[in-house]
Amino acid sequence: MINFAYTRATGIADAIKEKVEANGGGQFLAGGTNLVDLLKENVARPARLIDINRLPLAAVEPMSGGGLRLGALVTNADTAYHPEVQRRYPMLSRAILAGASAQLRNMATNGGNLLQRTRCYYFYDVATPCNKRQPGSGCPAIRGQNRVCGVLGTSAQCIATHPSDMCVALAALEAVVRVSGPQGERSIPIAEFHTLPSNTPHIENTLSPDELITSIDLPESPYAAHSVYTKVRDRASYAFALVSVAAGLELDGDTIKSTRLALGGVAHKPWRLPAAEALLTGKPATKESFLPVAEALFAGAQGYEHNAFKIELGKRAVVRALTLAAKGTAAIHDVNGQTADA
């Protein structure tokens, strides 16, 4: 038998204590939809599994300042279908529903979604080298099967993407990740949560080793009326994004007051470029205004043999998403979180 200990944490402090005691060998178990797969593939080999499913982190609550707090253990499905999320953050609801499958979303939690690992094929196959799985072993994806890999912010060590849909919307909404650890609580803005691969592709975020995610806080958003999540993928469901775009517009008549744009499927983290968003301020919501933004977002992109198409596709998806957002959230026919056109 794989000799790992399994413990069920009774409270937040207990979970953190367990984690500290495991001395680097512990891992929290939430929905298990990613971690259990990684265990089966021998990619993850924790000495201790700390089940956090009984912790009191499963609520969606209004925040005093006007935002919404999503507990780390609320399932992706419950989050997406929560009336307040649908009303105030439709982009997030749609992003979640565009991901995985109904069964997976019923199990997957918000905390786990933030920390899901890349879908790069090599990462999952222990017979192959992979710098992310085994630092220093090499990156076969750069010259190999890299359709699912990134084109922005890649490094010579790793070109993997963060595969989440939910996190793309969180980036556009400027969510804040709240964590609790041996040193107490702190808040990490989503933009600072995930990291680029650089020379340490095995490090994917700024969470300290023994910290527990307790919630994701959504600030008030002026984008609800004009927000969209456009996901382009190889099949209509149960496929990760080739490219996805979370877009929110704040309009004054036909004039854009402010913009939020985040890209998925293209980088090691949800990709945002506030300078590109600023190009739209004061402009009319037209294709002519959108094109330079798309160009700016992909200005530094580098394609590889099987994924260079993502650069052109990404630009088109940005224009599409902004065009749809301008029409208004309500105008977008919504089937299971998918925009009619994506």
Binding site: D125, Q145, R235, A342
Partner: protein, 757 residues
């Protein structure tokens, strides 16, 4: 409405059959939905050990060390089998060949040598007291290799192509050239020259391969095996391990999909038998989903096609040159190019099929092997040519209709393809389709319509069937065939009921047991033609026998009627015109003092009739796609397929076969691709998450039409088989529709959105 019509259309039967031609639910349905149906890995015996397969990480080279001793020291590990300690098996290649393998090849032998043949091949089997122990221990196995350079890239190795030197059953070598394709091409008014490619595709039935090998006290083996041929497995195990047939029984009552991947014995069977005999212990070995990508697959293919038509739009030249991958040690052979000399009238034809040996596992037949590949390329090229000739692609096909099998220079046994074109095009609403691409739109999406012809051979093999009628009037019919989900149990029960006159509920059909009488593997869409014809024969014999016995009964219940004057129905022999004169089968047996009546028949293919004809099923497939012009996303919004497949015995099962095959055709067109890393020589997307097949949301309207055919030549039942024809031509119809929508001709499958940007 259309569905109803298509079912009714075929139900109208000239010979007023009682069961055949009527939509009939699966007799094994209740067992399947209640979980009573057991699959190979679900047969439990006390004291079962579990073998977990360790797969190689490199494609070529030599194993220099395996830490087997270390692994065997783990508590609960019973044995680690590797090439270093594996018991010897038969020496000669011949002994490792099975019914299906190529005649001269050297089949893969697991744990035979340090030399590797392909990446992900089995290199060790860890046997443990529990599955968990075995799996954990297997994860600790370290294999060191002395790596050698490998070749897995078909495109890069095309120069090494060679003609097949071998042969195997079901393969028809390319016919000799006719006319002069080259000079006809040079002179022609309209020409197309193009190269098409298709990646390797993996079968991936839902049930993964498993073998539960029960070691009896007497050393006899009872093997619960996932397979398409129990007797093929039995013969293989006996010849490889030097066992006698009476000591090996292979059982496989239910199969969770095969599609060709289980035609040959799979390597977990070899490993399970090896472990069970070495340890004198019952052992189960099952493959992981990842390992389902480590043996048979549809071979990657590159096809070069040159077509030409004269000024009247008549096809004048066909050149089709196919390159396919195979392994180093075996030639996998499927009929790829012959269809191009068959589908349309053409005087000048040159067809070449070549192989490229690579460091990969031997490919194996996958649904409509060869035809799915070859006809995709050829029917795409025909579409290109029709456009050159500014002719509607359906009209072009009609104009060049083949009235005889020109490869064999023989008439067709039956061919209602014209009616398929008519009925499917009408249902689809083809009329008025604009010739030019990019002419149809719906909102902002581009719409395209495509058509393709499909074809598959109607084969028949020798098969034996046994029938036992017992004193209670119940009939048990049996043969060692399998039901890979195609509805074999049901259709054989229907045929037996039809021709024996025993009511359906009193008939049972047994299969999936090597101790039953001879059947070929289930494949090639030949099961109904082969086993079904034998069921018919044996039941007709049974009737004749019952009639004879009834004639000898006291009181002459049939009043001296002749055979022609009686009807066999509902377990009775009745005088047709005077039904009060009747006798039940049970009464006949009782009067004769028999507790049962047992008959056994071997049906040979109708060789003489078939020898003078070309025997094929045909289809006309119409597809509609809608394409998002900016993002390239494609939806196959409609497919209409009309099938001319001989007599349709069970329209419900037949329709479900065709529906499934169309979905698979869409999958071939849009999704499936084994992503090979040529640097590592390894397929990388080996999971259901990353190896894409369509999900429900990708599949929209599908209509199936059966065009009746009366055919007394193919076999005694007049049925041509439904397993493969449905997939053939779907990928080309979709590709042609994508072209019509976008003006872009995508010649490499799958048609992913990046190819349209």
């Amino acid at each position: 409405m259309s569905l109803l019509k298509s079912i009714l259309g075929t139900a109208v039967n000239t010979d007023a059959a009682e069961h055949l031609g009527k939509p009939t639910r699966r007799v094994d349905g209740p067992a399947k939905v209640t979980g009573a149906a057991k699959y190979a890995a679900e047969f439990n015996v006390p004291n079962l050990a579990y073998g977990v397969i360790v797969s190689s990480g490199v494609a070529r080279g030599t194993i220099t060390s395996i830490n087997a001793a270390e692994i065997e020291a783990i508590p609960g590990v019973l044995k680690v089998l590797t090439h270093e300690n594996a018991p010897k098996t038969a020496w000669l290649d011949r002994s490792h060949r099975d019914q299906i393998s190529s005649k001269g090849g050297s089949p893969f032998r697991p744990l035979y040598q340090a030399e590797l043949q392909y990446s992900a091949q089995p290199v060790a089997l860890v046997v443990g007291e529990t599955f968990e122990i075995a799996r954990f221990a297997a994860s600790l196995v370290r294999v060191e290799y002395d790596e050698k350079p490998h070749e897995t890239d078909l495109h890069a190795n095309q120069a090494a192509a060679h003609p097949p030197t071998d042969n195997s059953g079901g393969y028809t070598p390319a016919p000799k050239p006719r006319g002069d394709a080259e000079s006809a091409f040079e002179k022609a008014a309209f020409r197309v020259e193009a190269e098409y490619s298709q990646p390797s595709e993996f079968h991936n039935p839902m049930e993964s391969y498993a073998s539960t090998c029960v070691y009896g006290e007497d050393g006899k083996l009872t093997i619960y095996q996932k397979t398409q041929g129990v007797q093929n497995c039995q013969a293989y195990v006996c010849s490889v391990f030097g066992l006698s047939k009476k000591d090996v029984q292979v059982i496989s009552p239910y199969v969770g999909g095969g599609f060709g991947s289980g035609l040959r014995p799979t390597y977990e069977l070899y490993l399970a038998v090896m472990a069970a005999t070495a340890l004198k212990h019952s052992v189960r070995v099952s493959m992981t989903r990842q390992q389902m990508f480590s043996f048979s697959h549809r071979p990657e293919a590159v096809q070069q096609i040159k077509l030409a038509a004269n000024g009247d739009g008549l096809l004048d030249s066909v050149t089709h040159h196919a390159f396919e991958e195979t392994s180093r040690k075996e030639e996998f052979l499927e009929t790829v190019v012959n269809w191009s000399g068959l589908l349309y009238t053409c005087p000048n034809v040159s067809l070449v099929h070549q192989l490229v040996n690579l460091d990969v596992a031997s490919p194996e037949s996958m649904r409509a092997p060869g035809a799915a590949t070859g006809i995709f390329a050829f029917e795409s090229a025909i579409d290109e040519l029709a456009y050159q000739a500014k002719t509607d692609p359906l009209e072009f096909r009609r104009k060049n209709y083949a009235e005889k099998d020109q490869n064999l220079d023989k008439p067709f046994s039956s061919k209602e393809l014209r009616a398929c074109y008519d009925q499917a095009s009408e249902r689809f609403g083809w009329q008025g389709r604009p010739l030019e691409p990019r002419s149809l739109r719906k909102g902002s999406d581009l719409i395209g319509w495509g058509v393709s012809t499909g074809c598959w051979e109607a084969m028949q093999q020798k098969a034996e069937v046994k029938a036992v009628l017992t004193a209670d009037g119940k009939l048990t019919v049996s043969s060692a065939t399998s039901d890979i989900g195609t509805g074999t149990y049901t259709v054989m029960t229907m045929i037996a009921a039809e021709f024996s006159g025993v009511a359906m509920e009193n008939v049972s059909f047994e299969l999936g047991d090597s101790s039953l009488v001879y059947s070929p593997v289930e494949g090639g869409s030949w099961t109904v033609a082969s086993v079904g014809s034998a069921v018919k024969s044996v039941c007709e014999e049974l009737r004749a026998k019952l009639f004879k016995l009834a004639g000898k009964m006291d009181g002459r219940p049939l009043g001296g009627a002749e055979l022609a004057d009686v009807t066999f129905v509902n377990g009775e022999v009745r005088v047709t015109k005077d039904p009060v004169k009747s006798v039940t089968y049970a009464e006949v047996l009782e009067a004769a003092g028999l507790d049962k009546l047992e008959l056994d028949t071997t049906e040979q293919p109708q060789l003489i009739k078939r020898a003078t004809h070309g025997c094929y099923s045909h289809s006309a497939v119409f597809a509609e796609v809608s394409v998002d012009e900016d993002l390239g996303t494609i939806h196959v919004t409609r497919v209409v397929s009309a099938i001319a497949g001989g007599r349709i015995l069970n329209p419900m099962a037949a329709r479900s076969q065709i529906l499934g095959a169309i979905v698979w055709g869409i999958s071939m067109a849009m999704a499936e691709e084994g992503l090979m890393d040529h640097g590592l020589g390894r397929c990388m997307n080996h999971s259901y998450a990353e190896y894409h097949v369509p999900v429900n949301a990708d599949i929209h309207d599908i209509e199936v039409i059966f065009v009746p055919e009366h055919d007394e030549i193919v076999n005694a039942l007049g049925a041509k088989g439904m397993g493969e024809i449905g997939i053939v031509g779907v990928a080309s119809a979709v590709a042609n529709a994508v072209w019509h929508a976008t003006g872009k001709r995508v010649r490499s499958l799958p048609i992913t959105l990046d190819k349209l940007l």
